[in-house]
Amino acid sequence: MFKKIIAASTAKSPWIYHINTGSCNGCDIELVAVLTPRYDAERFGFKLAGTPRHADIVVVSGPITSQSKDRLIRTLEQVPEPKVVVSIGSCPKSGNVFKGSYSVEAPLDKYCKVDVSIAGCTPKPEAIIEGLYKAAQILKEKREAMNK
């Protein structure tokens, strides 16, 4: 019974930690816009966390410049276990217009398994909410998987 409550509440209070690996800040402001009164992601329990230790959902934006590569890997490791990685915008998945540049090591899949990818060069806030909601469901499945 206790395990069931934990699994249920894991989906209901996903905390987000945002890693900006050199993005043009379009997706960053959009992600924060999701918490404003008009879109209010807090209805579903989303909250921006200050450190990776408090995070459940890690949102990665930006084409992973070479400077931010090893920092990204280290921070992703520091997130406690049932975690979900979400790529926002098209930069993390493919490097977008910066593909092929000497300083961009784009696809995020090289470094970790991307659970949910939200496409759109600055996806619409509703799309972000939908993506985060799906991420929360995956989080719950991962938590139940941990129980077994």
Partner: protein, 247 residues
């Protein structure tokens, strides 16, 4: 602090301005550039969209079929910047960016839009009806692969069959409707005047359609035997032989 307090208290007793998104469907603005819709029938595979797409999000996979080619266009939304250039440059209107913004997927496959364009190669080649043509060079500019060269001064219009992808862009743009797909007349080989009667073309011709008499310096051609293989034209050292339309 006091004005904020006033605002806070008034907000407390007024309706929240949140749009309850998942329960209340929200439509994007009409001119929102969202998911790409590709109509394979309108597409003529001119390749302008691929040339114009900055992140190179569009790629084509060719598959030959008996009367032409099946080209599948893949629009990869995870690398597209939704700038809408492909939509602007596609004259056929095959690509339209819809207002669908729900581009969220767990596996990347769902974010790739595919469409197949069945391209039937027209029989003949491009040719120009010289009396209608006013040599305005529009067709040359429009041709994506630069196959047509027009010389306004010399009033000449030539086409390079090798480069032509038969896309038909020139036909559409010609104001005088002078350009057309000519019926494929049986090709006839014609010998120019600086022929040295070396008999190379006769030897190369698999069907012996060409007979050359070095002594009498005569060159004759039998159209019925010719299979337009083009070996004679390639072999002529003086490059005097060329195809031309028979009657």
């Amino acid at each position: 602090m006091i004005p904020f307090l006033k605002v806070a208290l008034t907000n407390l007793f007024s309706k929240p301005s949140t749009v309850k998104y998942p329960y209340v469907p929200v439509e994007a603005k009409p001119r929102y550039r969202g998911r790409i819709a590709y109509d394979g029938d309108k597409c003529v595979n001119c390749g302008m969209c691929v040339k114009v797409c900055s992140p190179g999000a569009i790629n084509r996979i060719y598959k030959d079929t008996e009367d032409g080619q099946d080209i599948t266009y893949e629009f990869d939304h995870t690398s597209c910047t939704f700038c809408g250039m492909c939509q602007d440059f596609c004259d056929e209107g095959a690509i339209t960016l819809t207002t669908d913004y729900h581009m969220v997927a767990t596996d990347p496959e769902d974010l790739i839009v595919r469409g197949v364009c069945h391209k039937v190669n027209p029989k003949g080649n491009i040719s120009c009806n010289t009396d209608l043509c006013v040599y305005c060079t529009l067709c040359a500019k429009k041709c994506p692969s630069g196959a047509i060269t027009v010389d306004r001064a010399a009033k000449t219009w030539t086409v390079n069959i090798g480069k032509c992808t038969k896309c038909g862009a020139c036909i559409k743009t010609c104001p005088k409707k002078a350009v057309y797909f000519a019926e494929p007349k049986p090709q006839v080989v014609v010998c120019g005047d600086d022929c040295v009667y070396c008999t190379l073309c006769a030897k190369k011709c698999p069907e012996e359609a060409i007979t050359v008499d070095r002594a009498a310096k005569t060159w004759s051609f039998d159209a019925s035997k010719c299979v337009q293989c083009g070996k004679c034209v390639a072999a002529c050292p003086k490059k005097t032989l060329s195809f031309a339309d028979g009657e």
